[in-house]
């Protein structure tokens, strides 16, 4: 509250006695202090300000001393008396260290071993051979004329079983089964690898089924 009215009340204290105040001014003053307080404070304001008339002057000797001090203080072209704070010295030292290391590092010839990491892959086109062995009875085997015996014959108790490789041209039944088998294999291979057996003549020749 006094913050707001401080200047107004002070101005009144310096210029007007309480009886000279307007009703509004009296209301303003009485909100803060009594009439007696106002009179006492007014007296203090007037007298306290009056005491500042007695002034003294500084002696000439004081100025001369200060002039000498100023002459000593005048900066030299390179003022070596200036003390740098520790952190500034540390920062400069660190800067020199980093720059020195950078120069030293850049002057070295780097030795590098280069390894050829390219892998050469060779694809060898080899014909696929598949041989199917089947068990036939001895009677059927007599009908066949072996063109080449590739496996040793194996004897059993009742029936003799022999392994032989026959050509499909000798038996129409074989030809029919061969065709079925060829188709089945071709379909299976096509499903698995996408490779057509039909294009491999050697494979086709090796697929023989004999009962």
């Amino acid at each position: 509250m006094i913050d707001k009215d401080f200047e107004k009340i002070e101005r009144l204290l310096q210029t007007k006695e309480f009886l000279e105040l307007t009703p509004a001014e009296k209301e303003l003053v009485l909100a803060q202090i009594s009439e007696t307080d106002y009179s006492d404070m007014m007296e203090l304001h007037i007298r306290a300000r009056a005491t500042r008339n007695e002034e003294i002057a500084p002696p000439l000797s004081l100025k001369e001393k200060l002039d000498k001090a100023l002459a000593r203080r005048r900066p030299t072209p390179i003022d070596l008396r200036t003390r740098l704070p520790l952190y500034q010295v540390a920062a400069v030292a660190l800067l020199f260290l980093v720059v020195g290391m950078a120069i030293n590092y850049s002057s070295e010839t780097p030795l590098r071993v280069v390894t050829n990491t390219i892998r050469e892959v060779k694809y060898i086109n080899r014909p696929v051979k598949q041989v199917q062995y089947i068990v036939i009875s001895a009677k059927d085997a007599q009908k066949l004329q072996p063109i080449e015996q590739t496996k040793p014959q194996v004897s059993t108790n009742d029936n003799q079983t022999s392994y032989s490789e026959i050509t499909p041209e000798t038996n129409p039944e074989i030809l029919r089964k061969q065709e079925i088998v060829t188709n089945n294999i071709q379909r299976a291979l096509n499903e698995k690898n996408g490779v057509s057996v039909g294009e491999d003549s050697l494979l086709q020749k090796m697929l023989v089924t004999i009962y």
Partner: protein, 174 residues
Amino acid sequence: MSLLTKGGQSAFDELYERYSKPLLNFFYKMLNNDREKAEDLLHDLFLKIIEKPDSFDGNKKFNTWFYTLASNMIKNEYRSRKIKLQHATETINQTQEYELNSERLDRQLFENRLQRELNKLDPESKIMFNLRFSEEMSVKQIAEIMDSLEGTIKSRLFRLTRQLAGKLAIYKPN
């Protein structure tokens, strides 16, 4: 101040011419008319400015900055010789009272009593009172010097004036 930093004699002369007398009188009043000590403090203050001109706070006016330094020196002086100061003041005042003529008696009695009451205050209140009544500074300037808020200074000044006025009421002329 930048000229003074470079060692400019003319800049220093200008500062000394402008501020030495008001500051000396401020010290003189604050130290109960101890002229020798007031001159010592004035010397020390300008010596600080010569040796460390970079310490000038560019946000403040010269006037405010000088009185901030002076106020701090006064506080330090009070701390160092609090008891001695009180004793010396009373001795001087008693001596002066016998030398007064009748015309100035009333006024001098009031001033002595005011000084005595001010000496009972804490250093900050005394500095604040003198800045306001002797140096006639604005509340804003005092707030900067005392490093305080304007509202706080107003409240303290008003309360202080009322308190002192009550104590000095018996010295009012009829």
